[in-house]
Every structure is written in C-alpha cells, then in structure tokens.
Subunit: 254 residues, 2 copies
C-alpha cells in the first residue's frame, strides 16, 4: 500500500486554491463518478489515488492507492460531503492549435464564467459525440475541481484548445477554413432550426453569462426561437439546443 | 416605513427549515433576480419585502418595505452572500386538477429530486411558452428557496399541478384525453426528432435523476439520440431537447 508523501500532501492542499491551481501541472478529482471517468478515459494521467478505507472500489487502478482512515481522508480533503475517493491527476497535454481540427464545426466558449455551465456543456458535447471544444481567454479553468465535478470528468474525453482572446481565436480558425461564424444572440438573427450552413465549416460561439459573446466582425447572429417571455436562455441550455440540432440533422442524413 | 413583526421574523426563520416549509402557506424568495420575477408576475402574493439599506430597488412595491441595516438583514437571512432583498411570499393557490389543461401536451416531472434540475426545467418551460407543469409526489418542493433561486422565480409564471403518484396522475390525465404517454428512456424507444404524435394529446414524463421514470403501463419509450458515448443525458438537458423540439415543430407550422 502506498503512502502519501509530504510533497503530494502539500500539492493537494495548494490545488484547493486558485493560485495553486494556476501554477500547477496537476488537478484534483473528487468523488466516484468523475473518478470513474478519468480512470477509464485517461488512466495514464493519474498520479495518485487516495481512498477512504471504507470506499468500495469498482475499477482497477493504474497506481498503488493510498488508503486513509475517514479522519485522515477528511483532513486532506476539506469537503463537507467527502465521497471517499480523490485523484491527483496530471493536466492533459495542451493540444497544439496547429493540429488538424477533427470536427465539422468548432464549438467555441467565449469567457464562460460558471463551472456549472461549463460542465453541463462539456457533458452535452460528449453526449453528441463532439470531440473538440475551444475556449477563449477568460473562460473558467476546464480542470478546476469545480469544473471536473460539474462535468463528471467528461472534459478528459475532449480535445480542449485555447488561442487567446476571441479576435485571435477567430483569426486562426478563419485561416484553417472555418469561415461561417455564428454568434448566439437572444433577440434576433438566423434561426438555429433552419440555418443551412450552421454546421458547415463553421464556428458557433457561446458567450459569457452576463455579457454575451464579444465582438466578432463578419459573424452572423444566431437565434434560438423562444415563444415564451423569458429574457434569454441559460447558456448551457442554448448549447444543448444547438448541439442536439446537429444530432437531429445527422439523423436525417444517415 | 414598515417594521418586521415578531411573527414575521419567526416565520422567516421557520421557512429556512424543511419542516417549517412543509407546514407553511408561505415561501421565501432571495435575491434581486427572482424577486424581480415575483414582483412582476405575482405582486398579489407578496406579503412582505425586506431590504438591506444599501439595496438599490428598481421596482415599485406592492407593500411598504422593511428596511434593515446590513447587520440586521444578515441576522434575519442567514446566507453567506446575502443579496440585499428578501421577499416573504404566499404560496400560489393550488390549481384544481379538474380545471381544463391549457396546453397541447402535459409535461410531467416524476420525482425530480434536485432543485437545480427543477429550476432549469421551469425556466426552459417558460422560455418555450409552456404554461403548465405537472409533478408527481416525491418531486422537490417547487416553492422551496432553492427551487425559487434556481428557477429565478419562473415557477410563478406556470400553473403547477399535482395529483399523487405517477399511476394516479396518468389515470387522471388519460380521463382528460391525454392518451399518448411518452417515458424518456436513455437506451431505446421512438426518436424525439421524428415521433409524429409526440406533442398531440400527449404526456411526456421526465424521471428521477437516479432511477428514471417509474412504471407507466401503456407508455412508449422516448429516446434522445446520442451519437457520443455518454451514459445518459442530465434530465434538465433532456427536457431542453424535448421542449425545443416542440418549438422547432411550431416554427414549421406557422
């Protein structure tokens, strides 16, 4: 049975802080569901597995685990509802922006601030079989413990890429042939259910919860019709509508 | 300027507990966004408005507010990020199940347990213009403070009805002519994007986060195609797909 080194314990503590996460090549994954995803998708990234001694493990592990008493476990991991398993994981390697984009359209999150929304969008992307997601500067850390919990670890199934702010990212994507840029907009624009070129060499941008999508010259506004009188749809729900419209169109072409 | 009576203060405290809520004809609404909704949609239900003295009010009020110092306000409302406005609201009257159902289909939540999921579904229902929602016994309290916060008060725009468990509810709805019953199912069933009778005198059931929809003899399984390899979609995302498929079909008939 492995023992937690002082360095690992210090690392885990520092990863609970924003500063510590920013500086680190590691991230933390808490709880059985997200842990199962990571152990299945990317066991190669798992540095250490810490178990509470009453935790019933269902997976085989890539490393010899550290087993702690409930008291010791809670001391390490300061959560109220500690769930008995904690992974110390290396962050996935950055995907070079030069590499080929393996998707019919680019799903781009512009300064999404809420890890809950981010996680929902990641899970939905995974459900529809999208393998790529792009983020602009200012979007939440995709590997913070909140993001991992909210996405149930599904971000480890995606190629997540970043290339600066919205202008820089769109410039790069245009050079790569993604020339139809759609910017979600609550009020007007082309209709998500009828726009023909929505998923053809396109970039679909979902924007910040408060401020929406930043300026994107040459882009088209994309509207999700809302017969009710809500002001606007939560960004994760908007993403769900768009991603499943893609699935619907796939169906009629198969 | 009004003063908070001892009875009102005791009521507010008791509404912070599950037991207190269950016994009460009142509910609490916290924060500017949900308060704005309730003040706009149902000012007739607002019993008392409690403001922190630095809160900038944008609405006209149906009652003379109680204004408190930050310290007094926080003492009343024990939240970490108190947002300066708190409403004491009478629960909406129960809608008799005998009354006519003013919707092309019945959206039925079967033992949805998470107020976050409930709130997302309520907001989405409002966005698509659905005016009714039915709940089975065991679904979260639609007027708990968590439900109100998560739905941003949108439940006050809906007619929410209950008639016992799933079997009893489906029996009643069948008698009312809602005979096509669809039960969301992760694995198989008719396709949400092609099923012709999905919104015709139908009941669409969304089920508990862990256990899914209960038994519903005579129902059809309804499937949301997922080309990716996610186990199943979060129930609020499934609801979003279904409700916006309704909007999409409306569009082609207008």
């Amino acid at each position: 049975m492995a023992v937690l080194t002082r360095n690992q314990e210090a690392l885990i503590r520092s990863l609970a802080t924003r500063h510590g996460r920013k500086e680190s090549q590691y991230c933390l994954c808490d709880g059985p569901r997200a842990s199962h995803e990571i152990l299945t998708l990317r066991p190669d990234l798992v540095e250490q597995v810490i178990l509470r001694d009453d935790f019933i493990l269902r997976e085989s592990l890539p490393v010899d685990p550290v087993v702690l008493s409930a008291k010791e476990f809670d001391r390490i991991r300061n959560t109220v509802h500690s769930q008995g398993i904690l992974l110390l994981v290396r962050r996935p390697e950055e995907i070079p922006v030069q590499e080929k984009i393996d998707a019919p359209f680019v799903f781009l999150l512009d300064r999404i601030a809420d890890p809950g929304n981010f996680g929902t969008m990641v899970r939905t992307a995974r459900a529809v079989g999208l393998c790529e997601m792009w983020l602009t500067d200012g979007t939440v850390d995709p590997y913070s413990d909140k993001s991992i919990r909210s996405a149930s670890g599904a971000q480890f199934s995606l190629r997540i890429r970043k290339h600066g702010d919205l202008t820089a990212t769109l410039g790069l994507l245009k050079d790569k042939g993604f020339t139809n840029v759609f910017r979600t907009s609550p009020a007007c624009g082309c209709n998500v259910f009828t726009e023909e070129k929505l998923f053809e060499n396109s970039v679909i941008i979902l924007g910040n919860e408060g401020g929406g999508v930043g300026d994107a010259p040459g882009s088209k506004d994309l509207n999700i019709p809302m017969p009710g009188d809500a002001e606007s749809l939560n960004v994760a729900q908007a993403a769900t509508v768009i991603l499943f419209e893609y699935v619907r169109r796939l169906g009629s072409n198969v």
